[in-house]
């Protein structure tokens, strides 16, 4: 909503200066977005300084100048002026500026083979004088500190631009704003001018509102002005229209626009001679069409509120008029419409047709149904003043009566809500100034809501009215209480934060990517999950919710590789989606690592990242969160985007139905498909929601602290086992032989090849044996040794390697 302070003062008697008014507006909830002059074409002309003027390489009479225009970069300008010289202060016009004298718009151009960015101006080019001999010479004393600033002072009136919240329909007109300011003590709302109109004759154009279901129009006021001479608007009106950044059209159109801005009362003017018989306000039928004033043809659906005549649709009520009945400069007789359209109807029609107009904007927020006559009178009077003509009596057709809403406001509610007190007298004054009818009744105020406030529906809305006019600075600052009744984070939230930092501590950079992704990449990581499409994606390559975090991680990994970053470790913790309903999502932490370990290292041997790097990071992370890795069960059932031979799934224990994590190298097909240029790529993912949390805190999960000071023995074994037998199995068998004695089993070698059958492998293990009760003697050790060998051999078919 835009207006000038002078315009405001037509409605508000105030002694406040501009800045005070601006501050007041913001403090009562009418946020000032800006308060500045409407930009002018002349704003582009800038004070500049020639740093260096050299001869043009290809032309004797031209100069090539380096010009300081107050920005970092200097610009090169070709100039023909004899007085262009080093250190001269002058006026610069950038590309895009229009030269006042010639009215030509500058563009970047080549002059004799050298590119010139804009030009340096003479007084005559700027229409300051007839001096055209050279460029303007500005006095250094006055202008040396002005380089880069505007040369011309903008004399346009300053325009206030308010951001009006959707509830404040009444402030989409200057008078409404003045009323709010007056209530807040910024001045006095002026009385409406008494009309001096001589109504003569009847409005012979009949108006009918049909009884259609959901009729969007409830009240239609109109009058006829006959024998006008439509013309250009007078200066004062043009200036008002221009100050809002709009284009003046004709007196009739400008007046209707002016009244809309002034009183928040949209009007429409028809060329009365183009109306076929009478006006019928009705619902449209599917397939009807009309050409609107924006010169577009609209095809209508069913049940849109249209203004029509005997020949068809004239316009969309409250949204836009039609070309067929539009006013022109030669229009003689006009019908002026001032009606009430229901917000809901306006909104649904404009949404379907994707139409946005000033009138629509106002009607959908709610127009004062009782302003119909005021609007007609003000507009008719202005038109008559400018264009002459005779004004008919006002004709009003009604479908519904508009009653004032009544609210019973409990006085205590104010104090209870805001925490401070206002005397009843103060409340009454504010509400009356805002247009309420107020009657005190014991502990309540009985209120009648003004017709221009569709947003006021219940007592709490009254609290807001009083507190915003009183000022939010009146609200006290209550110090917050530092008591906590509930833990800040629940166990799963703690897990989230722990995992996040745990993975980051292993060299991974955390990133945050969109929850949506490109279906083509998502496809590669989706497995059998349902694809969740976005109906209105921001772009076609962000068209589905992600089924996995990897699609985005891979995408950005590639981008970084393309920037020549070589070894990259990224992770993200966030949701993945399996359906379009709330809750069909889970939290995943996914990591990705590419390239080499110890690349170009003088001391360490460089090598590619591999599946066991992924396994280390994921295992270590899980262990750090407090899970017992001794209970983990690992198999090779990872999803199909992992390398089928170099990937695994981790289960919290051997009875778990679902894995809590996957790790491995990426499937080479994906690498190839996405053209990812790196030596190796590993992935892991941990499914937070699948981790079963222990009921107890970690401290309560721990066993009693027991240790043994008796002799510890270590024995090495090498077993030749089936290639298909998991080492996990082998180790488990050994532990289970005697959990009390076997403290640790460490795999220290894997051998395949010479001397070992091709379907076998040799595994070397180091077993630590220690008793809590006594020192083991040779016999005891021998016994356990033999037990290990015999058990492993019998359970797995392994052979001890001698």
């Amino acid at each position: 909503m835009k207006f000038t302070i002078n315009w405001l003062k037509e409605h508000l008697d105030t002694k406040l200066d501009d800045q005070k008014i601006i501050d007041k507006l913001t403090s009562i909830g009418l946020e000032v977005e800006s308060f500045e002059s409407q930009s002018s074409e002349l704003d582009k002309f800038i004070v500049a300084k020639i740093l260096k003027a050299e001869k043009h390489p290809n032309a004797d009479r031209l100069k090539l100048c380096d010009v300081d225009i107050g920005q970092k970069e200097k610009v090169k300008v070709v100039c023909g002026a004899p007085n262009a010289k080093n250190d001269l202060l002058t006026v610069y016009a950038p590309p895009g500026a229009t030269i006042p004298k010639s009215q030509t718009k500058l563009s970047v151009s080549k002059i004799r083979g050298v590119t010139s960015y804009g030009m340096l101006c003479s007084e005559s080019e700027l229409k300051l004088s007839n001096e055209s001999e050279g460029i303007i010479t500005l006095s250094p004393t006055k202008y040396s500190k002005q380089v880069g600033k505007k040369y011309f002072v903008n004399k346009n009136q300053k325009v206030v631009d308010l951001s009006i919240t959707p509830n404040r329909a009444d402030c989409l007109g200057v008078r409404g704003i003045a009323r709010d300011l007056a209530a807040a003590g910024a001045g006095k709302l002026k009385n409406k001018n008494k009309s001096k109109i001589n109504f003569s004759g009847l409005n012979k154009i009949k108006v009918k509102i049909t009884n259609d279901k959901n009729q969007g129009c409830t009240k239609f006021g109109s009058l006829l002005i006959k024998g006008i001479k439509n013309t250009e608007s007078p200066k004062w009106l043009k200036e008002k229209i221009l100050s809002l950044g709009q284009k003046p059209i004709s007196a009739v159109v400008d007046v209707t626009n002016y009244v809309m801005m002034d009183l928040n009362r949209p009007l429409h003017a028809y060329d009365a001679d183009k109306i076929d018989k009478g006006i019928i306000v009705r619902n449209s039928k599917k397939g009807e069409s009309f050409e609107a004033l924006d010169n577009k043809k609209y095809l209508l659906g069913d049940n849109m509120c249209v203004i029509s005549d005997a020949s068809g649709v004239l316009g969309l009520g409250g949204i836009i008029g039609g070309v067929r009945s539009g006013t022109e400069l030669n229009t003689k007789n006009i019908l002026l419409e001032s009606a009430y359209f229901k917000p809901k109807s306006i909104r649904s029609t404009s949404k379907i047709l994707n139409l946005d107009t000033d009138a629509k904007y106002r009607f959908e927020r709610g127009i004062d149904p009782n302003s119909i006559e005021d609007g007609l009178i003000k507009a008719a009077e202005l038109i008559q003043n400018i264009c002459g003509g005779t004004i008919s009596k006002i004709n009003i057709t009604k479908k519904e009566k508009s009653n004032h809403k009544a609210i019973k406001f409990p006085i205590d509610l104010f104090n209870n809500t805001t925490g401070f007190k206002v005397e009843v007298r103060g409340m009454t004054k504010i509400l009356s100034d805002l247009g309420f009818l107020v009657k005190k009744n014991k502990k309540d105020l009985n209120l009648k809501v003004p017709s221009w406030r569709p947003d006021i529906l219940q007592p709490i809305d009254i609290v807001e009215e009083i507190v915003r006019i009183k000022g939010y600075d009146r609200i006290k600052t209550e110090l917050p209480e530092k008591t906590r009744n509930k833990q800040t984070l629940n166990a799963r939230q703690k897990l989230f934060h722990f995992l996040q930092r745990s993975v980051a501590s292993k060299g991974y950079y955390e990133t945050v990517t969109w929850s949506f992704t490109d279906s083509k990449i998502n496809e590669l990581f989706k497995e059998e999950k349902h694809e969740v499409k976005i109906v209105n994606p921001i772009s076609s390559d962000l068209n589905v919710l992600r089924s996995s975090i990897f699609s985005n991680l891979i995408f950005y990994l590639k981008k970084n590789l393309d920037r020549d970053v070589k070894d990259i470790s990224l992770f993200e913790i966030g949701p993945i989606f399996s359906g379009k309903k709330p809750g069909q999502q889970q939290i995943v932490i996914a990591g990705i690592k590419s390239g080499m370990i110890s690349r170009l290292n003088w001391i360490e041997k460089e090598r590619k990242v591999d599946v066991f790097d992924a396994k280390r990071d994921v295992m270590q992370t899980l262990i750090e969160t407090g899970l017992d890795d001794k209970k983990f069960h690992i198999n090779s059932n990872a999803p199909n985007y992992y390398h089928p031979g170099k990937s695994g799934a981790i289960y919290q224990d051997s009875k778990s139905n679902y894995p809590i994590a996957f790790f491995g190298e990426i499937h080479p097909n994906i690498n190839q498909k996405l053209q990812i240029k790196t030596e190796a790529l590993i992935l892991f993912e941990i499914f937070l929601d699948k981790i079963e949390l222990h009921k107890n805190k970690l401290k309560d999960q721990k066993n009693k602290y027991e240790y043994s000071d008796f002799q510890k023995s270590e024995r090495d074994f090498a077993f030749i086992i089936d290639k298909n037998l998991n080492v996990q199995e082998l180790v488990k068998i050994i532990y289970e032989i005697d959990n009390n004695l076997i403290k640790n089993v460490k795999v220290f070698d894997l051998y395949e090849g010479e001397n070992i059958p091709s379907d076998k492998k040799s595994i070397a293990l180091n077993v630590t044996i220690q008793s809590l009760k006594k020192s083991l003697n040779d016999k005891d050790l021998e016994k356990i040794n033999n037990l290990i060998i015999s058990t492993v051999e019998s359970k797995t078919g392994a052979k001890i390697r001698s």
Partner: protein, 355 residues
């Protein structure tokens, strides 16, 4: 007698030379070997008269001791020299690079969420969550934003079905609805999370982060709201003085509603929070609308309270001098390294939120 003194002098002189262990062993055997010079002298004693022998033995033993001591010292010297030599040879250039170690980084959004949680934890808020995919009711209708309400235009919503039943939440406010429907008052929660609007340009991203706050109890008024936010802003920006302005605004789900601005000034293109005469809008808030309370089965006659919502990304930008919102989500490794936080840097009250 003179013989043994000669031997002594001769060998003491020899031992002054620059010798290695072999030379010493050679000397040792020349003196004390089976036919060594000193050994031979001892053999001579048998043929000596007792009175001479006693003196000779004593002299010879003294010479033997002296020579042996000298030899031992010489050996020790050589050993020390050799160790020094060895250590000399083992010397490395310690200015060579160390073995590699890589620690990752925490994204600024995550860090700021932790900071926010830490601050609100102090004043008794707990953290609530809700799904990213919401239904139309929780995101709009329950929040007093019925269909055909112009306020819906302010939210460019991503929909997941043609009936507009399911959508990506446009704000964290539906967590209010879920929290209140799922429990009994009082409520005191914050809800940080991802939010989505189909809007994308230099200052808007289609996904961003908000934190919602909700405090419902008996007798909670706007003074508590002001106090809570005042506390938060001061703690978050870690400055003692903050210029803060509440001004009336409108949200369908709060009444009265307010927007909060903080004062700032520009210094060398950087925003300095807390001073200056410019205002920056940072959050929206208000008293929860009675219609919302009714929708979530809380009796507005008994309970009332406030809610607020603010942009986490924006708070992060302001606090850590990040200019470009889009960069948060572009995963530029260099950016993550520059603006990311060490994972050990966990925001806490006693150590201060940030280093």
């Amino acid at each position: 007698m003179s013989d043994i003194i000669k031997i002594k002098d001769e060998y003491l002189l020899k031992l002054k030379d620059d010798l290695d262990l072999n030379n010493i062993n050679q000397i040792k055997s020349e003196l004390f070997g089976k036919t060594g010079k000193i050994s031979n002298e001892f053999k001579k004693m048998g043929s000596m008269s007792p009175d001479i022998r006693k003196k000779f033995a004593s002299d010879l033993n003294a010479i033997k001791d002296e020579l042996q001591k000298t030899i031992e010292k010489k050996i020790k010297d050589i050993e020390i020299k050799e160790i020094i030599q060895k250590l000399q040879n083992e010397k490395v250039d310690v200015t060579l690079p160390e073995r590699s170690f890589k620690r990752g980084k925490i994204h600024p959004v995550s860090q700021v969420i932790d900071e926010i949680s830490s601050i609100f934890s102090e004043i008794g808020f707990s953290v609530a969550e809700g799904p990213d995919v919401e239904n139309e009711y929780n995101n709009f209708t329950a929040l007093n934003t019925p269909d055909n309400h112009p306020a819906r235009d302010m939210h460019d919503t991503f929909y997941l079905d043609d009936n507009k039943e399911y959508l990506l939440r446009t704000h964290t406010s539906p967590v209010q609805v879920r929290t209140m429907l799922g429990g009994k008052p009082p409520f005191k929660v914050i809800a940080p999370g991802r939010t989505y609007r189909s809007d994308s340009d230099q200052t808007h991203a289609p996904m961003f982060h908000q934190v919602e706050g909700l405090h419902i109890d008996k007798n909670i008024n706007m003074g508590h709201l002001k106090g809570c936010l005042n506390y938060f802003i001061k703690e978050f920006f870690e400055i003692d003085k903050i210029k803060m302005r509440f001004r009336p605004s409108h949200f369908p789900f709060t009444e009265p509603s307010a927007e909060v601005d903080i004062g700032y000034r520009l210094k060398d293109g950087k925003i300095i929070i807390g001073e200056g005469d410019k205002w920056l809008e940072i959050l929206g808030c208000g008293m929860v609308h009675p219609n919302v309370l009714k929708n979530v089965k809380v009796d507005p006659q008994k309970y009332q309270g406030y809610a607020f919502g603010m942009g986490i990304d924006r708070l992060a930008m302001l606090k850590y001098g990040i200019n470009d919102l889009r960069a948060f989500f572009e995963t530029d490794y260099r950016w993550l390294n520059h603006f990311g936080f060490d994972p050990l840097d966990v925001p806490s009250n006693y150590r201060g939120l940030s280093r």
